[in-house]
């Protein structure tokens, strides 16, 4: 199994396609960071304009922590597309290349083969997130310094003390990993049904885009179905940045307003991952390899 995983990782990281995602993220984060270095204060003034009419802020609003939050908000919606590029290609790509039949005539079980493949795409996803964390969080912290993090929620403003932020990012990235793994699992599942990679990649992207739109539009009709869409739960990494307040309305350091929501969402995502990968295995084990 370890040997298989090594081989799968080797295959992933020897393909130029794999690096598109890393390059795309680097470029995106770089451009946004450059923009914020140059015009960050204008951006903050624009975004916070509403609050700034009544309140004055003293301190470094535009610090590494906020920049990372801005980046994650912008990026995490699009990273699934980059994940799909690799995950949805895992089986279909091999079918397309014709190497699937060669792989499967080797003395390895199909279950092992699939597990190794999914684990490899999970590792790819993890590395992509580590890369995002490095660029969006650490590079931003270096470029913009750190301070309290002031972010806007739908109905309120949250200020997190500078010392109470980092662990939240650790949690948020952990949660984002689950979200992205569910995308990878979906891509993996769809990749079982085609003998070219374009189909499953586009299908995965379409499902994600479609579901995300349904998940994010606050229209009563959509709101009814939102609990049934896994994309609804994917944005809940933001819950890590919503602290509890005490009776005096003061933020309780180290607290979470809705830990239950995080746990519930995480469980739902894990269920999706297990479901998609499980279904892929069941189908793949019975599948006639005709490619």
């Amino acid at each position: 199994m370890y040997k298989l995983l090594q081989i799968e990782l080797y295959k992933i990281f020897r393909r130029p396609r794999t690096y598109i995602a890393f390059l795309a993220i680097t470029a995106l984060v770089g451009v946004i960071q450059l923009g914020l270095v140059k015009n960050g204060d204008d951006y903050v003034n624009f975004v916070m304009g509403n609050v700034m009419q009544s309140f004055s802020f003293d301190g470094k609003l535009l610090n590494g922590y906020l920049v990372c939050y801005i980046l994650l908000q912008l990026l995490l919606v699009h990273v699934p597309l980059l994940i799909a590029l690799v995950a949805a290609d895992m089986i279909s790509g091999e079918a397309n290349m014709g190497t699937l039949r060669l792989m499967l005539t080797k003395p390895i079980s199909r279950t092992q083969f699939l597990l190794a493949k999914f684990t490899a795409s999970a590792i790819y996803t993890f590395m992509l997130l580590v890369w995002i964390a490095f660029l969006a969080l650490f590079v931003s912290m270096f470029l913009f310094g750190v301070d309290d993090m002031v972010i806007q929620k739908t109905n309120y403003l949250v200020q997190l003390p500078v010392g109470d932020v980092f662990w939240r990012y650790v949690g948020a990235f952990g949660f984002a990993l689950l979200s992205m793994l569910s995308v990878a699992a979906l891509g993996f599942f769809l990749s079982n049904f085609a003998e070219n990679s374009i189909g499953p990649i586009v299908a995965t992207m379409s499902v994600i885009i479609f579901f995300t739109i349904l998940s994010t539009m606050s229209i009563p009709l959509f709101q009814k179905i939102q609990p049934y869409l896994f994309t609804t739960y994917m944005v809940n990494w933001k819950e890590f940045f919503d602290p509890k307040v005490n009776a005096d309305n003061a933020v309780i350091v180290g607290s979470l307003q809705h830990p239950d929501r995080i746990i519930q969402s995480a469980l739902i995502l894990v269920l999706h991952i297990v479901g998609f990968v499980g279904a892929t295995m069941v189908l793949f084990k019975k599948k006639d390899i005709l490619s």
């Binding site: 295959k11 014709g98 792989m103």
Partner: protein
Amino acid sequence: MQSVIKVSNLTKQFKGLTAVNDLSFSVNKGDVYGFLGQNGAGKSTTIRMLLTLIAPTSGEIELFGMNIKTHRSEILRQVGAVVEKPDVYKYLSAYENVALFAKLSGVKVTDKLVMDQLAMVGLASRAKDTVKTFSQGMKQRLGIGIALVHNPQLIILDEPTNGLDPQGIADIRNLILSLSKEMGKTIVVSSHLLSEIEQVASRLLIIDKGKKLVEGNAHELFDPAQTIVEIETTDNLFALQQLQQSRWQSMLQPQRSHSILLKLHRNQIPSLHKNLVEMDVQVISLQPRHNLEDFFLQITSNNQHVQAFTN
């Protein structure tokens, strides 16, 4: 004789289509087993079932005396195969491909093993080049190199000469012969061309529409005593009358539209020719074929189903 492959009543149905129909055959140790049939006859489906790529609808497959369902890994460790096109990872080099599949086959990968393998198929000088840059023939050779890297007892080559130039075809043929004669491997070679198979095969199986037409030893199937001669004349009716009154009468075969068929020993052909001239028959052509070729021609040209093969 120890049988390496034993297939019993193998059937595969795809949504209403029976690709392989109650097929039984066996391959013995040391055989070069020719597996013949038109495109779509069910060769590839059968080979894929032997390699567990496709699950049979019914029937049993045993390799090395073990059931393929229960001993998949043990069996596949001893099998090397090229199924249809020799597809490998195009973005990797020849060396990397060989090493990768060697590792998957459970072999300890050493530089020597990989380079020896590449040398055997004449690709040592291109070891570091990505497969993208390879010609069809080089890919075919690489595919075979990969199939052989773990020193398997059974080698299955599905249409190995497809898309090759005459030199490439000859190279593959020589490789098959040397694998069989020098290394004692059991080899299954499928093809839709009889000419390819007859030069290498020790045993033969012909299938059509998923059913077995004939199975036997090549030396029997290519028996000179069973040569068919196809004669075309300016007046076939006259020629037939002459032949029926001659000593060739007993050798006449059911007639085909534009020709007369006789079954005889290859040695008798010169005297047949002489006789025809003596009988004043105006011969346009006289084509000797061995029995199998005639048989194979029938299924390939007329697509006519022949139920029995007369030996």
